[in-house]
Amino acid sequence: MPCHRFLILAIIAAAFIAPAQEIPTSPEIVKYSHEQADALIREVIDQKFPPVLVDRLAVLLINRPAEVVPRLADYVRAQYGLPLAEREERSIGTASSLVAYAGDETALRAVEELIVLDRERFTPLVQSTLNNAQSWRNPYEVAYRALEIGTAAVRAEVEGWVQSRTDSWVSQRYWAAAMVERYPSGLTDSVLENDPLVVMLEPKAREVTKTRLREEAVRVREQKRQ
């Protein structure tokens, strides 16, 4: 182990921005009453998604997605009911991005509805939802759910997402963990051959991935035992 040494550096006196009293903490936001949550959502929409309120809403969103995601999707739908010149494009972009930020099944269902409104614009949100899921949960569990509930367009995006992650060691471990939960009896050849995500892979990548998934599944089970 290398030795540490002291490097004398003058610490610049600085006053970091102190939180104002009226700023709600994240735990306070998470514990908002239904009325307080509704008021925050309306305030964000009314003020056209200012960044500081977006952060507060994001905290509420990722902790209580079922309450927030539908409201954001409703907002986007309402905007698409307006003439093109009257739409708040920046707000639509932020609202739809926040929907995907939730990274769960609620978000997927909302994205699916948004795709009906504007296929080209909102289809990429499927992969965004899965990427964001990695911050809050196992993204492969969300991907499996997407295959169960999604349209052909959603399934195509899931396929693209799965194929893009075959080189990711972290992703393989997430996937193996999801499979351990999904297939308690183990990852047999039959299980892997028929897994709805595995079959989406190209043949060459499929074989390599199956081997990795088996190895990672062993490690996952070992860690669970510990």
Partner: protein, 723 residues
């Protein structure tokens, strides 16, 4: 359209007109049609059935009401004849078929008991001559009528206003059952004549296959004289018209004509002003006649208008205008005609010195010198790659400069501009070639315990947030063999060297590093050491570090369930603000990097370094066994890295510190999320400082911030502002 109309009217010319009947001396009868030349000829006969001699006067007019000089009997052209006939005498006058076609009508002031008639004839080589006889039109009539039959025939009419006043003529067509099937209105100037196919008049289309009567009614002092003709192929004959009172059709209401004035505005435009006393106005109709041309309607000003500016006229020319007002009762007579002469065009000087002010991947700002004081705008034209011609993309935003949007990266464009004025356009400026730079490559660099997938969410968020067309995200960098598997001999510099290889393999151009946690150190290591000369010939326009431990973090021991597997890397990133007040104890690696960094001169004056720090935790002391941590005076941290460390809060040589700081003003950002799946990685102990004691509250991770939030907005501001 005009050609077709002329042909139809020519066919409507009666071949031979006969005038007959007892007349009273001095009363101006008339023949509504006179045609000669071009294969047509007319002969007029007069005879005296009285007991005394008398002199009659025949006057010839063209269709516009001007005197017509005709070579009667092949003699010299005359516009009047004064035949004197004794009792029982007769005379004839021939208008021969030679020469070009001329048309008009004849006024006959007949002596007492002198009869007259005329014969029209058409001679076509190879065919028999066609002739027709037509009754003489009664003098001074304000209405006329004749029956027509368009069932396999075509009916035409010639209408003359022999008075000295303008005549508005109502035309009403009825079928055989007396039901009105069409109405129309025509206007005749004094002493003018018009001829037309009945069913061709607007409003009379139903007459095309019908039979019935057609009435022509005007109001005194105007008069009408009508000659009907009907055709079947080349054969034709005249239809006698009744001239006298008609109770079934009403005369038109007299609508006063506007009074028109005009003056030149520019070399190519004029302004017309008028007054009108007409009521129930619908609109005005302005007609223009250029040099040697005929009147054409060119504008329909609104009912309340009193002036109109007409553009696009030829310079140095005389233009004639007239107008009438359309009311709910019909059209007025034409106004007076006004003549306006436009001046010669003064050359508009072209803009000069077109140059490039700045350009990025999708936008260029151009500037030039405007030399035309009269310019109303500067038009910009672009020639895009792969095209041969310039395209006008509209007016510049200012008279001497303009931004040009909507370009694409790494493309060669050519621009030129010209001045626009009321008189037209100037010549073009010089042409300017502009090649847009390649897209800026943004390398996304993950942190410890991650691989490239850890930056996937941020990649998507930035793609949605940053200016379109300017950036290419590159998330390929993966240091998982060390950051996850921690193979022997791993070091941050190894990561920097791996990054160097990826930079060298990427397209040329400006680059940006966005490093999360350890990824920020890897980027700084590469910038400081320029491994493999990877940065030679490249500009690092910006560095964005997200919660990077520039001054270390109080790393856990090798036994730490999270960092234990990668102890070598975490030891390189160690630093402690509490070991000695006012100073910081750094690892050998960070100490060396800090010293090298000071000599590298980054970001300098031309690059940007945004250092972002989360401040979600206010506990200065890590919650494990050793008293390491943040300074007591500035305890905020993102649960792993002190804010002072993430913002490089030390005294540094000039231009080596972050150019922009973001310090989480609402204290919501954490280093990374300790979600339920942290157990997957053997204890995801991210909370070195604050501990929610298992409370599953999610905060906002620095490596995947929400789009539209404070952090992404700040990153966007920095990157979008890059030149």
């Amino acid at each position: 359209m005009r050609t077709k109309l002329m042909k139809r009217i020519l066919f409507a010319v009666p071949a031979l007109l006969t005038v007959t009947g007892f007349v009273h001396g001095g009363t101006p009868y008339l023949l509504p049609q006179l045609a000669y030349g071009g294969g047509w000829s007319t002969t007029v006969y007069l005879s005296n059935t009285g007991s005394s001699a008398g002199t009659s006067v025949l006057t010839f007019y063209d269709d516009s009401g001007n005197l017509l000089s005709a070579p009667v009997n092949g003699g010299l052209p005359v516009s009047t004849l004064n035949p004197a006939l004794g009792p029982g005498a007769s005379v004839s006058f021939d208008f021969l078929s030679t020469g070009p076609l001329r048309q008009g009508w004849i006024s006959l002031d007949l002596a007492a008991e002198v009869n007259a008639y005329a014969v029209f004839k058409q001679s076509v080589s190879g065919s028999q001559d066609q002739e027709a006889v037509v009754p003489l039109a009664a003098p001074g009539a304000t209405s006329a009528s004749f029956p027509f039959d368009n069932r396999s025939l075509v009916t035409t009419a010639a209408v003359v206003n022999a008075s000295s006043a303008s005549a508005m003529v109502n035309i009403v067509v009825r079928n055989a059952a007396a039901a009105t099937i069409g109405t129309a209105q025509i206007t005749l100037q004094p002493r003018s004549k018009t001829a037309f196919v009945l069913a061709d008049l607007p409003g009379l289309g139903l007459a095309a296959t019908a039979n019935g009567t057609v009435d022509f009614v005007t109001a005194s002092p105007a008069t009408v004289a009508v000659l009907g003709l009907r055709f079947r192929s080349q054969a034709f004959t005249s239809i006698p018209a009744y001239h006298g009172p008609i109770s079934t059709s009403l005369p038109p209401t007299l609508i006063p004509a506007p009074v028109l004035q005009g003056s030149p505005l520019t070399a190519t435009s004029v302004r017309l002003n008028w007054t009108s006393t007409a009521v129930n106005r619908v609109r005005f109709r302005v007609e223009w006649r250029g040099p040697g041309g005929v009147f054409t309607e060119v504008a329909q000003p609104l009912a309340a208008a009193t002036s109109v500016d007409l553009q696009g006229l030829s310079a140095s020319s005389t233009h004639v205008f007239r107008m009438r007002v359309e009311t709910s009762s019909g059209l007025s007579a034409y106004s007076n005609e006004v003549q306006v002469s436009t001046t010669a065009v003064t050359a508009i000087p072209a803009p000069t010195g077109l140059r490039l002010v700045s350009a990025n991947q999708v936008e260029a700002t151009l500037a030039w010198a405007n030399n035309a004081p009269s310019a109303t705008g500067i038009r910009v034209e672009i020639r895009s790659p792969g095209t041969t011609g310039f395209v006008d993309i509209g007016l510049a935003t200012a008279f001497s400069s303009s931004p040009i949007m909507g370009l694409e990266a790494q493309q060669a464009y050519t621009f030129r501009v010209r001045a626009q004025s009321p008189d037209g356009y100037s010549a073009y400026s010089n042409e300017l070639g502009v090649t847009t730079p390649p897209k800026i490559t943004v390398f996304l660099l993950h942190g410890i315990n991650q691989d490239s997938s850890g930056m996937a969410a941020l990649e998507g968020t930035l793609n949605g947030a940053l200016a379109k067309g300017r950036f290419t995200m590159n998330r390929a960098f993966s240091f998982a063999e060390c950051s996850k598997e921690c193979k022997p001999g791993c070091s941050i510099s190894m990561g920097a060297q791996k990054l160097a290889a990826q930079v060298k393999a990427s397209p040329p151009g400006v680059i940006v590093f966005v490093g999360y946690s350890m990824g920020g150190l890897i980027a700084r290591d590469l910038i400081a050491n320029n491994w493999e000369g990877a940065l030679n010939g490249r500009t690092v326009a910006a560095l964005v570090t997200l919660g990077s431990p520039h001054l270390g973090y109080p790393y856990a021991s090798m036994a730490d369930p999270f960092f234990g597997p990668c102890g070598a890397l975490s030891e390189q990133m160690s630093g402690d603000f509490r070991a000695q007040p006012g100073s910081i104890m750094l690892s050998n690696y960070l100490s060396a990097l800090t010293q090298t960094w000071a000599t590298r001169g980054f970001p300098g004056n031309n690059s940007q370094w945004l250092a972002a720090a989360g401040q979600s935790c206010g506990d200065p002391v890590r919650s494990l066994t050793t008293p390491k941590g943040c300074s007591d005076s500035q305890p905020r941290n993102d649960r792993v890295v002190c804010s002072q460390s993430a913002t490089y809060w030390v005294a540094t040589p000039p231009a080596t510190a972050p150019t922009a700081l973001w310090s989480d003003p609402e204290r919501r950002y954490v280093h990374t999320q300790a979600g339920s799946y942290s157990l997957l990685f053997g204890g995801y102990a991210t909370n070195l400082f604050c501990d929610y004691s298992g409370d599953p509250i999610f905060d906002l991770p620095l490596n995947s911030p929400p789009g539209g939030g404070l952090l992404v907005t700040r990153i966007k501001e920095v990157l979008d502002a890059l030149p």
